[in-house]
């Protein structure tokens, strides 16, 4: 049974329907990529899982339906969502950002231990703990957002366009860490990306969305090899 399962999920913003029946599954320990053009519904899919948007259909996490749980509930169940635009608390310090990551799921005593664990992946942060998060560079902020998400030992990490606005080297480093987390901690990852080449290289399985539903799916290796799919859906 998949860790996260979506079946015929529809979602709307007020009167506008953004998802017209998305079905996908993410198995435990996998890195799954969600690709597609602007407006295809990738971000909306993540928001549907988190409960930030009105959704209908079936959304199951570890077998249990998420439909009644809002974002707060999803967080408590072990879903960490790093939204578009990073989602950090810019006026708080780096350390306070990490502390907030632990808010729902772990006790105060564990905060220090878990933060230490996370800082192991981002050693440069140790010197910047008192720094105001808003003054970090774009890449550093994205790393902070990722670190924040990791503190509570999530079972599923959802990343929304992590490469947006970042330099290629920084993006590489980011995905290297994600891969490391996947390997060392068995972290399940669902990543939304516009940069198809990057996402295909980093993931096991890929779904391509088009106008609110899944157009193509397959293992990332298959999709990379298939020139027709690459040209029609992924633009390269």
């Amino acid at each position: 049974m998949a860790l996260l399962e979506l079946r015929d999920v529809r979602a709307r913003y007020g009167a506008i329907t953004a998802l017209h029946g998305v079905s996908l599954a993410v198995d435990g320990g996998q890195v799954v990529a969600l690709l597609g053009a602007n407006g295809a519904g990738k971000t909306t899919t993540l928001r549907a899982v988190s409960g930030l948007v009105r959704r209908y259909g079936e959304i199951r996490f570890d077998g249990r339906s998420l439909l009644r749980a809002g974002p707060e509930g999803a967080a408590r169940l072990g879903i960490a969502h790093v939204p578009e635009g990073r989602g950090i608390f810019d006026e708080l310090s780096v350390w306070d950002n990490l502390r907030m990551g632990a808010y729902a799921s772990i006790s105060r005593r564990e905060v220090k231990r878990e933060s230490e664990r996370v800082l192991g992946y981002f050693p440069w942060m140790r010197d910047r703990l008192r720094q105001q998060a808003g003054t970090l560079s774009g890449g550093e902020q994205q790393m902070l957002a990722l670190a924040r998400a990791m503190v509570a030992r999530p079972r599923l990490l959802m990343l929304d366009e992590p490469s947006l606005g970042l330099a290629p080297l920084v993006v590489q480093e980011l995905f290297r860490i994600v891969a490391l987390l996947n390997k060392e901690e068995g972290l399940t990852v669902l990543v939304v990306e516009q940069n198809a080449e990057l996402a295909l290289a980093a993931s096991h399985y890929t779904y391509v969305l088009e106008v609110g539903h899944v157009a193509v799916e397959g293992t990332s290796d298959e999709l990379r090899a298939h020139e027709g799919v690459r040209k029609s859906y992924l633009g390269y």
Partner: protein
Amino acid sequence: MLAFAFAEFVQQIVSGLATGSIFASLALALVLIYRSTNVVNFAQGEMAMFTTYIAWALMDRGLSYWPAFLLTLAIAFTGGAAIERTIIRPFEQKSALAIVIVTIGLLIALNGAAGWIWGAEVKAFDSPFPNTTWDVGGVAISSQDVGTFCVCLATVALLWAFFNLTPLGLAMRASAINPTTSRLVGVRVGWMLALGWGLAAVLGAIAGMMAAPTVFLDPNMMLVILIYAFAAAVLGGIDSPIGAVVGGLSLGVLLNLIGRYVDFIGPELRLPTALLVLLGVLMIRPQGLFGHAVVRRV
């Protein structure tokens, strides 16, 4: 002669700090609500007045001061949170003007309700501080002033500790900074907002109970104080808690000094003069003394 003048000057400052601490408490309440819910709560003064009446009613029934004080704070907290959840919450997403009208409506309704329930005659309100004056090196300092200052500042200090040293306080700050991400980490942002209004109501109640012994209890007692608190909050920067406190204290002192030392400004013009000074500061520094300059990125 000079010593006399100096003593008088210090007295004005001390009593100015006492009234200023009342302004600071109410201003801090305004800033708290503004930061967490982005609402300017015009009803803050009337909420304070109403809770002060509740304290009076409790004491009238035989409760002694400090138990009544604490019970009133609890009632204020619940009332403030309830108001946010029921009346304010539906408007949080709507236009700013709608909320302005709602808080104005609340102001008018509370003012009327107080007069209706307890009558409009002026009442006396007990002070927990003895009616004594201390002589400190020739300067007469009333213990009422000292007491007021200490209570208000202790409250501010406790609030500071809450926000900066506790996880709940951190969560509240986070909710104000980035509500969406806060929800994503599991913070129930809705309750944080209610909590903010509850704490603000507590601040208001304290301001009211500290002011009442001096200005006496009547439904309109907090109207002028609200204006000054509003001015102090804007002076300090409407999104800055430190600014509210500094602004409040400065304004209290300024008012006393203007009233005492500037003669052609009669008592009627004290308020406009203070406001004029305030506006002068805002012209030079539009975001207030401690506020964040709004940098708009294109």
